[in-house]
Symmetry: D2
Subunit: 301 residues, 4 copies
């Protein structure tokens, strides 16, 4: 990623400014504020602003409980309880604002999270830059045979594929430039620039909705490219709201949901009963997932 | 309004804390942060946190425009342009978080603004306090004869009415207390406490949606009590985002929308044509409003 | 519940009308359309309109998959897969519109579901009727000792409590009436009418958000009164979208979420390892819930 | 537009089915249900389902007003009043569900309307078809000199430009196909297919939010291509909810908003006062717009 000189100057200038505030402040976030974290070949995520911290969640939750609750449960336990029992509104009391540079095909997935605010670079107003995402060799993989929407093994002729992507991108950008030179309106010329071109946006979201975004985009079923952004945001969450982040991992990311049927199967196994695959109870896929999850290959025939 | 001793201690403690931050900071807001502004007989509004300022709106808008736009229009002009042309997304980039004490009948109107985050005091968890809104004499008015949902003239026997409201509130609270003493569950006992009792909540909203709330709640058709809250928020907006606040007054609050028909009428009048009321064109009410708006009593028969 | 004569006439008139439509139609819903289902002492729920059915969910989901997917998985399996894997958008393709009569304290909980459309009876425009919820004896219970927001055992002097609620309601309504007679504006007079008074509204919501509402309001932690409404809606869902309803029960209502820690405990138990309560791993409450859930009282010390 | 044979069979089959329903039904909508309306070179819009009609809006609004209001104002007057006074919630009581085929660059603008439900064709699951938008000669225009985001005059060498767009599209699709043949995962291969390729989606939205979409997308500042879709939807609205559609034109689409300043200027002119441009009062652009709007070129110096 090459951060333009101009942006660096802006970052330096902003980071030199310090103000005094009564508001909740997270030193670990102040340290990284405005700095770009590189993602993919030209992308980045920068924190532009944040509102609230772990304590702000507790503060809002305590309004519901009224007086005298403070002693009952300490802050960490309360946050974990709220997340576990899906009392989600206190997590809406925190906000994160990011500046993101991302390929348009990633932006198209990202924008499906509707409860967020966005200001995107407009190719109607401005000329697109010559920044295209070209996947690295390790990421040029075959269609997955198991997952209709995913990737499988690395391809033998990944180099050829990579070159193909690179040269098509170049050609498209050259055509775009020539259209602009002929005077074609920007809003029209840009329709032939493929979605591996980079765009950028300001994106603001509350913590509750951000955790939902993360659950979706950290998942292995998410496309690898958007997952790289989610991983950086995961690191940011760990610094911003460490208690909430840990609770998120314990009760959401690494939690597992057992269906009524799976719950019954586990219960019977725990009582020492023998269980056999029964396709009237669960589909083959569900049996496979349950057996895989709890390493029951030797237990369930 | 009597702020409990405990809250004052908390306010003082928080206001003594200062942190250093790189984030945009508004000195006028720091000055009033956490302080309660009294509303009605026992209500208040306190700013708990804010995110962004006038400059943050400009910054987000400029992402869309890309480079080179900066010189074209200065910040103030850009904010006014955005509001005038209803480019609303940059205004979502700012957030305000309030702590509000308000009668439940006001809360019921307030909550109709759905794009906001709320944590309310729960009368299932905690005991309601003996705080009831009793309107002052000047506000005890007759049903409006013009507006089916509003108030008209002050009532002659306002004192009797006020006493009536006060004594019913007292009795309801006494009954509530006696039910609690008999061991009745809080969630049940509270169902007989009338909605002039005070509740409180944390309420967080972005600036775009807050302006929509204000437009609705500053309006003379809004109930007088909720308007008192909107007036305090108006003062907060003036301090927080002065340029946006002025633009809001110029292009929204004191703007007027002319229907296609009214627009035609004005056009004809400006050309020197004579215009007469035509009830096929507009309803009586619309004619009255147009004539009132532009003081055309002597012009349109 | 006494349905006013006028409403019955309207219901009868509407139910006599039949139109021809190409739209998806659910005979079981046509049968019950507009009919009031009684809830509590004076409340009801009526279906006013519905859009879509189980097939409409499948149809929307198949747009994403493109051609050739049809054979792979039949409709029922696809709906169950979507709900299991939290592919929620196809469920937004169905809508339910209800007419609900409900006490205001229930309405206050209900309205917290923000992704829905509401038109409520306005006590600023119209006079409140003399309809108050008075809980039946069996529901007049003590504060729960386990659940800070719930009810426990039935109270010995429930009859006295019931009488207390009834007489306060009567008195409040008499005061309200007298204020109206003195000419007090409706918007002011109503502030002393307690929230066990009935209101009514039209409420429209998509199926995805309705299932979230149901998960919350069918839960035993929900207040008993709102649960009665959720139970009727559950019955409506069973008739409207039977496949989705069954999937909802299997994968959401009667599913259980295991935290990362609980998942590890279960895994160890299934491998035959001994497990002991460890309060560094999980809180007492979490241990209790896990042991209760899988009946492990004899297994975990 | 070439509708695939398979889709026609599906349309015919569905249109042969008639069901009986008690629900509000709009004959003009039944007539066009499922039929594709051609837009651009390969796009279309089809109505898949609708809920409610003009009467449903009135019905919901009347819940707020309670009894006795019926006589005061007839249905048409009530709808016009609601729209004029921005009582928007009753318009949320109607829903429209469309099947839309549209170029991806149009989809990117469209999706900015967040309060809607979407299921889009997934190029991770399925192979993109060889359908690209190539603008007709009349639409190949130069960058506007007045509007930084729009188009101006037609270009002299539009034919060359058109050929350029067509050949780049062909080449990109050929490259895409070759990548798929090499076994590249679909989610990766598609990143080089430019956004003039067609996608399709199911899109469901309530009438209130649809009118907001229309106001934005019928505007001359909207890109010409998305305006073509808005024009077809405008025709659908006229058939579905004719009274609301007329009110929308009168009070929104062809209404004009006067700022506090412009309002003052008009008032002075109507009183016969002389007015001169004053750039402290309004910007040059605002003066130009006001003078243009009311044809005041000869009146204001």
């Amino acid at each position: 990623m090459a951060i333009p000189e101009e942006l660096w100057r802006e970052i330096d200038a902003t980071r030199e400014q310090w103000s005094q505030t009564h508001r909740p402040t997270v030193p670990a976030m102040e340290e990284l504020l405005y700095l770009p974290f590189a993602i993919l070949d030209h992308g980045f995520v920068r924190v532009i602003d944040y509102q609230g911290d772990d304590a702000a969640i507790v503060q809002a939750a305590r309004v519901s409980y009224g007086k005298g609750t403070k002693s009952v449960r300490d802050d960490r336990a309360l946050i974990r309880y709220l997340l576990r029992k899906k009392h989600t509104t206190p997590f809406e009391m925190c906000e994160l604002k990011l500046h993101v540079k991302l390929p348009i095909f990633v932006a198209r997935q990202w924008i499906r999270t509707r409860t967020a605010s966005v200001n995107e670079y407009s190719a109607r107003f401005s000329v697109l830059e010559d920044d295209f995402y070209v996947p690295e060799i390790a990421q040029i993989c075959a269609q997955s045979t198991e997952n209709r929407q995913g990737r499988g093994e690395q391809l033998a002729d990944a180099v050829v594929v990579q070159e193909s992507i690179r040269s098509l991108s170049k050609l498209a950008y050259a055509t775009y430039t020539s259209l602009l030179e002929r005077g074609v309106a920007r809003e029209l010329a840009r329709i032939i620039v493929p979605p591996n071109v980079y765009s950028m946006w300001y994106w603001k979201i509350d913590l509750h909705n951000l955790l939902r975004f993360q659950l979706l985009r950290l998942d292995e079923r998410a496309q690898w490219e958007i997952r790289q952004y989610a991983e950086v945001i995961d690191m940011l969450l760990r610094k911003w709201v460490p208690v909430t982040h840990q609770a998120f991992m314990d009760y959401q990311r690494y939690a597992v949901s057992l269906s009524a049927m799976a719950r019954g199967v586990i219960k019977r196994l725990l009582k020492g009963e023998q269980v056999q695959r029964d396709y009237d109870l669960m589909s083959k896929r569900e049996w496979d997932e349950l057996i895989g999850e709890f390493e029951l290959e030797d237990v369930i025939a």
